[in-house]
Subunit: 451 residues, 2 copies
């Protein structure tokens, strides 16, 4: 009988292991670990403080080590491999599928991965080096080479007998590939088609004209294709249309998750591999770059205010209200920026509709400007009993909202053209713009009208 | 021969259609549309300004209408259905798979969906109402009912003959399910296992003890299970362990994408269904809630500054520097918040490691405080030639960085306990905290030491 809600029991088992470890009952922990699948052990390691990870690792049965490594997030995996001797690491890596092997090697420092490669046996080293030769984030990088190929003229019956003899069909195989004498891909035949077809049909009559993925296609684009066409797997071909491997949905799911997370993490100035449970010093270092950039832009904004020191020293009320207009511009601009970045990732935003989108966001900026200008003017006029001050802040709000809309939509487009990741730097540049424009508009107008 | 890079040609076809539409060549556009698959037509509609969508819709061959609707994003789909007569809409919806049908109905305003349900034929209405009876975002909501079931005692040979007779196997079927006389699930048999097994094996010997998903499980949890265990499909059972349907990876991929996007969009105060090409008025309305909340918090920060009006009117330099400490606190706090929200989504953060994580983030806040306090103090001491002012800002920075780390890690934990989505409101509450603490610490210390 299947367990109807296994994951709850997995969670409680992880909890029990944590407790056993804390109380020093290593035997109990070892026994509990044996009941978990590799992916659950990986989750346990990822959710543990970094200093406890090696202790847990030692308790895992060594024939699971390789499978657990495959499932681990890069940062955590590297932390564990770093502590191993090269020949021990190479033994573990040799057991991996090509895509995981290459992914692991590439995540390691050059010197470490060279040592491990040197310790590998000839055949695995070649396999790894071929994989490493494809660019990171390409189809070649994430593909596996365990395809089953057929010749066009053989019958369904022969294929089914061949498969029965072979016995072991690679995981996630839903399609067999038909290739001609030069190994060029003619197309795919679904397994479900094979089992429903008449036994004497030649496979070439069953080919569904499946698309092939070029080995150098960007993996984000591969993910979009899988998502759009609901594929479970797709063949990968080189530039001569020769079949070199296949990509399966389980690897694509990881890319989809990572791509979507990448934008969110980048917008907060974080590395998407950032490990929640990394040591304090490492985390502090990683996050400091972004804080440094922000300090610089905050000083720039201060320098703009500094130009209006005379005004500020006479009218302290301006100092009090000086943050409102930049803050509203930052929020409005970030909304637009986030939408455009997502639209780009989904393939919705392109040169064909860029102009329309820019005018739309400008119009929203205009309407936002009117709404919030009227509102803030009323609040200030009542709070500070100063109608003119209300008019000044309203005017600045209007200007900054339009600037925010314009910057939010054009910035990611420009950055994409310059091949800079808009999710990474877009937000900080945008905030700098809305800060500077907002302060200039507010203090400038105030100096002009109120002094 | 398969096209090695079909998506490029799809893109150029979409471009050609846009051009044909702009130039009024409707015949050409219609012809070009016929060459596209439903998912590509959906992308074309999603990437078009909302006012052009109905024109394109009219040009699509009507036998594709239902398939295109299935692929469309909710906002865009609703816009099109809204313009239809109920009986026409019901005709289109009846052709859909149950999961898409239910998803579409639930996205529509109650009155519209009631009209459509009333216009449906009996069988489809029952199917829809059963689907609607499951809670939104549950396994029941995303499952399909097209499972193939087997009895435990029959042989592989019989199954294969049955499948051949049946002819049509539902899309994305990788596993057949074995049920006993009471329709209770005994487990699954992979199709690849069936074709490699000896013909006289009874299927009960081939059962892989697959997990079953309870019909009321949250869809985010379903997605996590699929991702962790690399499933292609999974059976869904009711509380009596009777098989009621199956969930396939293509629907899960959409959930993974939506969940990951949800956090990013929510943190910018956007609805995740927000359509990049919606009309200006609708977009302005949708975004205004968040801007309103932000205006309120900006006014709160201003009110804090207002308490120090006397200090500000004497020392304009404080007004100039008043934004630096809150800004740095906001960035540092948002980094922590983003990490914790992601950690929660991945199942890494739980009560077991909460205390450890809080002390880690406090420590990072402390180190961040030291680093940026020293740096900002040096900059200010040099820029403003005022050592005491540097000390004041350094102290405020220290306080605010620790507050930011503490708020960033505890806020999402508290919100989750209160069942509030941390991605939605976390960022604005955090920024309010870092603004208020930052201003208090800076202007308060300045009033005390410099006045």
């Amino acid at each position: 009988m299947p367990d109807t809600f296994e994951s709850k029991s997995v969670r409680s088992q992880r909890h029990a292991i944590n407790q056993a470890l804390q109380e020093g009952h290593n035997d109990l922990a070892t026994e509990l670990l044996q009941r978990l699948q590799p992916c659950d052990i990986a989750l346990l390691l990822e959710s543990s403080p970094s200093r406890n990870r090696l202790d847990i690792w030692q308790l895992i049965s060594s024939d699971l080590h390789s499978d657990v490594l495959e499932e681990l997030a890069e940062d955590v995996r590297n932390g564990i491999i770093d502590t191993m001797q090269p020949d021990m690491a190479s033994d573990l890596l040799e057991e991996m599928d090509t895509d995981d092997l290459v992914d692991t090697l590439r995540g390691l420092p050059e010197s470490v991965s060279q040592d491990i490669l040197a310790a590998m046996d000839e055949q695995d080293r070649q396999r790894a080096e071929l994989g490493l030769s494809y660019g990171e984030d390409t189809a070649g990088f994430i593909m596996n080479t365990d395809t089953i190929t057929l010749r066009p003229k053989i019958n369904v019956d022969v294929v089914l007998r061949y498969l029965r003899l072979k016995g072991d069909i690679p995981e996630h195989t839903d399609t067999l590939y038909v290739v001609n004498r030069e190994d060029k891909l003619m197309g795919g035949v679904a397994i479900t088609t094979l089992i429903t077809a008449a036994p004497d049909t030649p496979v070439e009559d069953l080919i569904k004209d499946s698309e092939a993925i070029p080995v150098d296609m960007d993996d984000g684009e591969v993910a979009n294709l899988f998502e759009r066409y609901d594929w479970l797997s797709a063949p990968v071909v080189d530039k001569n249309n020769q079949l070199v491997g296949r990509i399966t949905i389980d690897d694509v799911v990881d890319i989809i998750r990572e791509d979507a997370e990448h934008s969110m993490m980048s917008m907060a100035g974080l590395d998407d591999e950032e490990d929640t449970f990394a040591p304090v010093i490492k985390s502090t270092q990683r996050r400091s770059i972004w804080l440094g950039v922000n300090l610089f832009t905050a000083l720039m904004a201060a320098a703009v205010s500094d130009m209006f020191e005379a005004t500020l020293s006479q009218l302290a009320v301006l100092a009090i209200l000086n943050t409102i207009v930049p803050s509203m511009g930052g929020v409005a601009g970030n909304q637009t920026l986030t939408l455009v970045i997502r639209g780009m990732a989904l393939g919705h935003v392109s040169s064909a509709n860029a102009r329309w989108l820019i005018s739309k966001e400008l119009a929203i900026g205009f309407f936002n400007g009117i709404i919030w200008a009227v509102l803030i003017a009323s609040v200030i006029a009542i709070w500070k009993q100063d109608f003119m001050l209300g008019a000044v802040i309203a005017f600045a709000m209007m200007i900054n909202m339009i600037a925010a809309g314009l910057a939010g939509v054009t910035l990611p487009m420009i950055m994409k053209k310059l091949k800079i990741d808009p999710a990474l730097a877009g937000s900080v540049i945008l905030t700098t713009i809305t800060d500077v424009v907002g302060i200039f508009a507010f203090l400038g107008t105030a100096t002009w009208l109120l002094m």
